[in-house]
Symmetry: C2
Subunit: 354 residues, 2 copies
């Protein structure tokens, strides 16, 4: 049977009715890939799985929340959506608005945004509104304008976003036949870790798993409010997707860690990039820098002995590497080999590099 | 149950045994998305589906063939693979070699390749061998070197590639409950249309469909040997993934068209780009330029009345738009709107652009 997206798949667990018309691009249903070479390097004492969310339609996990947010916006009669994000959220919002046949508006601060970051939003026909102000001004305006214009906000304050995102936990339980022992996630706004916990708790109540996982949230060291215990005014990290100093889901995420017996911790930019390279070169999996912080944290915790042997660990990779190839290429230090087009030189180039 | 890639899924239909160790990244299982807004524009007289192959792990359909080619290379004892491609094939080869823990060599002609095209291959740790010669020299050397060095060729002359690619037809029959009436594909080397036809015929023999589709191959007008009826020495098109003048699978593909009662035709670069833009703006689906030639052809054939009403049509999109965002961005003509950060100006920007 044709897979038609997560709203139809999980209708009974989502705030929709039979009358709801899902706006879907076939999001969700992403592969859960067991690590092999990295697991061997770590002594094969754990089962480590990657939930590869970069294989959602626009290349990031944001599509899970956006299918819900846009479906509900259309259901309530909205002819337009708006958000203040400049990265993966705006790409997803623009694509789902296109699919729904409604308008998407993206508010950005003047001069602060690389055009490349907005590429997907522009390509999907979103209207880009650039303001003479900073990102906080943008967010404030987006919140206010919904009272003055017929637009629905699809930033993470939209409650339907987390409802869609919780389905990743459903999939993992179905794939493993149970919840994992540990679930590692990159943490920026902290919505995704909260959504996963909601999903794990719901399926546990339904008897689909016999336990819930410890939730572990990893941040970038230069942008780690949950690790520090207070907001960060000038977050800095190469992992732009989690460069957030004032997380929207602060209280929710604190509760997740407490309830699940998990923890927050951080990795440096150098450690994040090392793990990204390890994943691409040893497992063939290419992700955004921010994504690799989850596995980077898991590897660190395995090495210190914090994770008991034989544990099952899931690490979420939030976005595909093709979202930000430049950072990855800058990590490639191997030179291109230049030779003459003779069989001897090609053979030597191969044999010298086996 | 966890989806572990197409070799385990279709083991009984592929040249593997229980002893085969699949090298997989969770490829296949891509969404089949029904067009809505474009179908409405065309009068809703047909059911048009998109097989979104850009949601394979490295962003293109090549992963279906590469999982087979690398699995069989490892099974035969190879410690390295080699190919002469510079685009999606090299990206896929490098990723699966990384997953297998073997070496990948990519042979490229000097000075003819934009570095960005090789980004994925480099990131996954492939060894890039640049020769003082052209692409034909590279292909000849790759073929010869396999006799002189312990490497397996994974170019499209590798017969296992088509075996893996045929599984897309299996998925479509399972998704629709039958074969479509028409299947449109972009045609470059012509391996993929041949592989699909193999898959459709096998499932038809197995009783899983009650008919086979007409296979329709579309080329770019500047690179259309099948339409012209002879090889093209200097193919030119913006759709680089199908810029091939001397297709490897010439005889196979001619037979497909004859057996299936299908046809070859071509679209201009302008028409290809128009369809790419239509898909992104009206359906939220972003693909490479070469991918959109399949839908572009289907739309043209619907408009001329060549396709009977109520037909079911599948169009394959071979690669994700994130593979080549620059071409798409250059099509975006809408300006960014610059305003002051006041609620009145934001509201006006929205209302003026609804």
């Amino acid at each position: 049977m044709r897979y038609t997206g997560l709203i139809e798949r999980y209708q009974s667990k989502l705030p929709v009715t039979d009358a709801t018309r899902p706006i879907s691009l076939g999001e969700g249903n992403t592969p859960l890939i067991q690590l092999q070479n990295i697991a061997t390097m770590l002594g094969k004492k754990h089962k480590i799985y990657i939930k590869y969310e970069g294989l959602n339609p626009t290349g990031s996990f944001k599509d899970r929340g956006m299918t819900m947010a846009v479906t509900k916006a259309v259901e309530s009669g909205s002819k337009a959506i708006i958000c203040a994000s400049t990265g993966n959220t705006s790409a997803s919002a623009a694509a789902y608005a296109a699919r729904a046949g409604i308008k998407a508006f993206v508010v950005i601060p003047e001069g602060k945004i690389a055009l490349g970051k907005l590429a997907q939003a522009m390509i999907h026909g979103a209207v880009i509104i650039q303001i003479k102000g900073n990102f906080d001004d943008g967010m404030r305006l987006v919140k206010e304008v919904a009272e003055h214009a017929p637009v629905s906000i699809v930033n993470s304050i939209n409650p339907f976003r987390l409802q869609g995102q919780k389905t990743a936990a459903f999939e993992i339980i179905e794939e493993l036949g149970n919840a994992p022992d540990y679930h590692y996630l990159p943490v920026g706004n902290a919505g995704n870790i909260s959504a996963h916990w909601m999903g794990y708790k719901e399926y546990h109540s339904d008897g689909k798993s016999n336990h819930t996982p410890k939730m572990v949230g990893y941040q970038a060291a230069g942008s780690a409010p949950f690790v520090i215990g207070s907001m960060v005014d000038n977050p800095e990290t190469i992992a732009t997707a989690i460069r957030i100093g004032h997380p929207q889901s602060w209280d929710l995420a604190q509760k997740v860690i407490k309830e699940s017996n998990g923890w927050f911790d951080a990795r440096t930019d150098a450690q994040i990039l090392t793990t990204q390279k390890l994943l691409t070169e040893k497992e063939g999996i290419f992700c955004e820098p921010a994504s690799s912080v989850s596995l980077s944290g898991a590897i660190a915790d395995i090495k210190t002995g914090k994770i008991p042997q034989k544990s099952t660990i899931v690490c979420t990779l939030t976005g595909h590497g093709l979202k930000d190839p430049d950072t990855a290429i800058s990590q490639c230090t191997d030179a291109i080999i230049n030779i003459n087009p003779t069989i001897d030189e090609v053979r030597d180039a191969i044999l010298n590099n086996m």
